[in-house]
Amino acid sequence: MKTTIASARPKRATTGLKLLAAAALAAGALSVGSTAFAAQTQLLETGSTLLYPLFNLWVPVYAKAHPGVRITTQGTGSGTGISEAISGVAQIGASDAYMSNAQMKVHPGMLNIPLAISSQMVNYNVPGLNNKHLNLSGPVLAGIYSGTVKYWDDASIRKLNPGVKLPHKMIVPVHRTDGSGDTFIFSQYLSFSTQSWNQHVGYGTTISWPAVQGGIGAEGNPGMVNACKTTAYCVAYIGISYKNSTEEAKLGEARLQNRAGKFVLPTPETVQTAVQATAAKTPADERISLIFAPGAQSYPIINYEYAIVNSKQPTPQHAMELKKFLSWGISAKGGEASHFMRAVGFVPLPAAIARLSENQVAKIH
């Protein structure tokens, strides 16, 4: 019996029927040349657009060495990743955000398995200053995204950037419209650094953005890059794996103020320093925020990139292939190899965290 995505217990009857029909068709079509594919297991990965470039690097390499499994990848946003991993449509839900306590209570069988460490850039498009690395802080960004800091030459921005000639132009804050782990970590940075933001807005994969005249919403990291490229005087938060795109679009990249008050760029060193400052607190279920780490050289917005996985898989075949793939992903010789990590700007998991992830992978059955 071939295992397909369709056998992953769909939630609703109508979807079930559709998938059943699709499976029947697929089975019919494949039976002609089925010998070659007879044992192939299908795994579907969907979710975070930040993690998507990494999976795109991983999958071809992994598939070459493991012909028995076929992994399909999609970048749909962390929100979709979490919900489709829960519903069973996808076997791996990629997410930059861990599941909330309330969600875990409803779905206790779900695992949040870190695969790598990512960081987030704050980009802007201010003609003439895009090659400059402006300094920005949590409170100033909170002001921009809540509409109290309206112009680029606002006193609070000038104070962070002495000697820089800032234009008197209205700032256009860009936010994500889809449920997004990037929104989660960005709003955590604002919440942890700015009390008023924490009280009035808070953090989450979707938050109620304060009304800012002119502010626009964009879909996915690629949408953020494009919106900022076409919109002069914008500010946007974009995952580090899109650094190539932001450079192509000639966007500026801000230095962010960390907990120690220093302004830093996301580099492998500043991200590594932040990891060392926070990772030791990681609990066994690995749901923890790494945002706003202490240390003079720590970059403030870093996070675990999670594979959200249901510990109970539809078939033993699925469970085995999934465990094999995830173990490969978190092993130093496999997915954590530096050529993968460097290509997307990620940092590999520290050995202790990789062990925790390994323990969680072992729970899949």
Partner: protein
């Protein structure tokens, strides 16, 4: 069973499905309707609450702390973008129809009319993509800055020109989608008018333009109104194209014609995935409440259109009878 009975059942299913949809939406959205109250239509606040906190119970409904739902900005965005679309589409659509019906000779007319009808068959997502790739950079970099500086003192046309994503762009894309609807319908009506009427008018010394302006267009006014309401219905419910060009404004009303907006239909699509993250489930139910509001507005608009047409038809028949 007799053939007649089968037909009766089939014919009954259609009107029933409208009722079923409305009842389903109401029942499903009921907790949200109770929690949101009438303020739902008058507040500018879409807030799922703190998703990382435990659910709390408020007024018998399980919610995330801080949750609040109000969609005034969506209602405004939907109605304003539709209004702008119709303001472009009616004159352009009617003009094109007259041109196609009266000004082009035989064979060419058939071909161009065919193209207009094919235009109506283009999926909306194609218009959206074109708007996103071509229209937004063009309008945002060249047209809007020029408009806002020359029309600075005109209310709603001055002020920050924005980035190209927004109300006017959404209106233009919607207009392009509904123009063929108006043109095709009106052209058919114009062509089917008795030739004798036009000939008589011209024989009396009227120019061809006068014949169109005073005889043909007034006779087809009912068709134009009907086509306009069809267009209105399509514009109100349009989802993908608007989603791609509107700028997805959240929680605020547009301050001028260039401001980002969002519409009810587009918002349901863009927020469904986020709403599914809400462990209390209220967010999805509130989206269903938006669907209900959209349904009610669309049905009301269509009903109003029919009533107007019926009234207009009566007046026309009394005039002709006299």
């Amino acid at each position: 069973m007799r053939f007649r009975n089968w037909l009766a059942i089939l014919a009954g299913v259609l009107p029933m499905s409208l009722v079923v949809i409305l009842v389903f939406l109401t029942v499903y959205a009921w907790p949200a309707i109770r929690f949101n109250g009438w303020g739902f239509a008058f507040r500018d606040m879409w807030n799922l609450g703190n998703l990382y906190a435990d659910s709390v119970t408020s007024g018998g409904v399980s919610i995330q702390p801080g949750a609040e739902y109000g969609i005034l900005f969506l209602i405004a965005g939907t109605l304003l973008s539709t209004l702008i679309a119709l303001m472009f589409a009616i004159p352009v659509g009617a003009g094109a129809a007259v041109f196609l019906a009266e000004a082009i000779p035989g064979q060419l007319r058939t071909w161009i009319s065919l193209f207009v009808e094919l235009l109506a068959a283009i999926p909306s997502v194609v218009f959206g993509l074109w708007g996103y790739v071509v229209l937004i950079p063009f309008l945002g970099h060249h047209v809007f800055p020029f408009m806002s500086s020359t029309l600075d003192l005109v209310p709603f046309f001055g002020g920050p020109p924005g980035s190209g994503y927004g109300l006017l762009t959404a209106g233009i894309v919607l207009a392009m989608m509904v123009v063929p609807l108006i043109t095709a319908t009106l052209r058919d009506a114009l062509v089917s008018q008795p030739v004798a009427l036009k000939e008589a008018t011209i024989a009396l010394g009227a120019t061809r333009f006068e014949a169109i302006r005073y005889i043909l267009l007034p006779r087809t006014r009912g068709v134009l109104i009907g086509a306009t309401f069809l267009a209105l219905g399509r514009a109100l419910g349009e989802t993908m194209a608007v989603l791609m060009v509107s700028g997805n404004a959240l929680n605020y009303l547009p301050q001028n014609i260039y401001s980002p907006i969002s519409t009810m239909a587009a918002f349901i699509v863009s927020q469904l995935d986020s709403a599914l993250q809400d462990p209390s489930g209220l967010a999805v139910k509130s989206l269903a409440e938006i669907a209900l509001v959209l349904c009610v507005i669309s049905v009301a608009v269509n009903a109003a259109a029919r009533l107007m047409l019926a009234a207009w038809g009566r007046r026309l028949s009394t005039v002709e009878g006299a």
